[in-house]
Amino acid sequence: MKKEVKVLQGNSAIARGAWEAGVTFASAYPGTPSSEILQEIADNYPDIYAEWSPNEKVAVEVASGASISGARVMASMKHVGLNVASDPFMTLAYTGIKGGMMIVVADDPNVHSSQNEQDSRNWARFAKVPMLEPGDAQECKDFTKVAFDISEEFDTPVLLRGETRVSHSDSPVTLENRKESKIPIGLDPKDAPKYVMVPANVRVRRKFIEERMRKLEAYADGFKYNRMEINDPGVGIIASGVSYLYAKEVFPEYSFLKLGMIWPLPKKMIAEFYKKVKKVIIVEELDPFFETEIKAMGYKVFHGKDLIPNMYELSPEIVEQSLMGKKYKAPKIRIKPEDLPRRPPNLCAGCSHRPLFYALKKLGTFVFGDIGCYTLAAAPPLQALHACICMGAGIGGAHGAMKAFGKAGLGKMCAVLGDSTFLHSGITSLMNVVYNKGNSTTIILDNRITGMTGHQEHAGTGFTVRQEPANMVNYEELSKALGVKSIRKVDPYKIEETMKIIKEELAKDEPSVIITVNSPCIMLKRANRKFKDPFFIINEDNCRGCKMCLEIGCPAISWKEGAGATKDGHKRKGTVYIDKGVCIGCDICTQICKYKAIVPGKR
């Protein structure tokens, strides 16, 4: 029978691999470029229990419980997510697993959508666990399946390094059937010494993980996805994942050592490769990880990070240009793209974050922000977000700043974060504000969904990943329970009132929380958000061309040059124009215009 071939995205192929491997439990917190993995499981593989966790630490913890019970489990996250999950992860390296466990950690070279650029391979070395790195969708599926076998054979969690270019590229995959795991579900109290990490047991497991590393090194030498391709014996390239594909694209005539398992490294195979080729070049994205290790083994590296950048994403031409140097022939430059207007992402027309940040800007508030759509408020013209470190850090930042300022800080600053982010790691920080007698203000922008990563459900939305109805966290009650006494609600679309409430709360010498209401993400279909007027238009008789309305950065409003005058004789250099295809009638601009120049369009 001919096997079915389907084009899958790298992330979808990981989901498929998990299903074929007999995984029954999957957890995740969304984050680009990893988000699609769990959604794909929820949508297409009912054999797998799936849940969005409030954060990555919880995702790994719940997966560990299922694994200890015998289930094959997967947790997925982006690179910075593993930092959050590092606490359970580092110790799980000691306890090991029962049912196979794979943790997908998706790096984001070139920081397409993240707060830093880090190389997750360092986590594998740090935690002493094996790591695999696929380069295309077929490998995503194959490596996922083999990860579970390795996990069970060596009693270890296995890391799979995803990254933007693999997660978000599509290529053909041969589909296979699912094989259920043979491990029975059950818990045995006699296993306690393996799972209770008190010092006496830790010392036993400490020795175990060193032995495990030695066994894994031997395994890596025979691992079928580590392979040599001997062509030109003059030059050999060592690479993995997508870096291998770029190098193969531009130097197909060279020899290759293609690594599928990137930690631990196959020492014998590397020795053999050095015997077969004259000069070795290492092509790797981000850190000189292989290079450092291979040099430490005593080998010479002909070229590596001396030529290939250690930051941003690689590409075929970067690899070619770096290694060819002066011999590289650059394509013809017809225009300078840097002279063209850029097209950065922007808050959507009608987004409830826009008026809220406009209010904060008008008040001159220093905003300790957070990761989410609202981070876009840092861009001009709003420029109303002034710090953004990681999820949940805004509340801590504002608290720290208030302590530094003392009473003089009242009215000057606040923390702003989204609903999903609040549940991710805002709660503990808010509790800290109350406990440590802080007086900072936290604004929860409740748009009823995890917006930026593409609309994932969370504990506050009322739905699970599979759209089953679920309990909804009540942020007001929760804040109360944490000890906050001053809790206000604001409709951000009413700018004056929003400013008044924020001003009052900022001035209070006690912790306070402001929750936005009536402000679901305008892209959230089920919220069915409708405004009173369908769209607005410009009354050119009144528009003085003052550009005040442009200060909100609405994508529907643009500037039109052209001298003229209002009906009552005020001269102007141009007017604004509202694109009725983009405007959704949110009414923010009319509140800003002093000259009644913005009026409802016709339904």
């Binding site: 084009v7 599509d170 590409s315 075929p316 097209r343 992402p345 001009p380 643009s558 500037w559």
Partner: protein, 198 residues
Amino acid sequence: MMKNNDKVTNIFLSGVGGQGTILASNILTEVFLNAGYDVKKSEVHGMAQRGGDVTTHFRFGKKVYSPLIKYGDVDFLLSFELLEALRYINWVKEDGKIIINKQEVFPPAVNLGVAKYPDGVEEVFKKYFKENVQVINGQEIAGKLGNVQAANVVLIGAFSNFFPEIKEAAWVKAIKGLLKEKLHELNIKAFSEGRKAL
């Protein structure tokens, strides 16, 4: 540096978030996979749901390694917006072919009046690529069919003319497979109008 004759064809799609760039590239993927090629596709975007620029690299051939096209190696540029076409003009080979949708979507800096939307995009392309440039008013064609949203499929229809070896039925099959049933009729018409437009 490629030495073998198993040529890989590089198609670069560009547009603005929400224009259907990714759906268009999904259609290409299905069509060329079914035609027996190895295919690789990669979306390059940050937070495109929020109106940012979106590009897709699509490659097909006997064997495709890199998911990204090499800078300067684009055989076909298919752009859904004028500025987003111009932004990638240097990527196109000397003899590359270009189809552009005649639509302007202003980025924030232009809306704010601090940057100018480029003039004469068509002329710049014609200067370098002569008769290899085709400009199509996808919105107008799709609008006549009742939904401007189908402009992306109009462009795909026009683009399909470059591959006479692939029958219209193969494109229609891909469109049907990727879109909800209620959108089939409109999009098949949009495809067919686009095919006639070139």
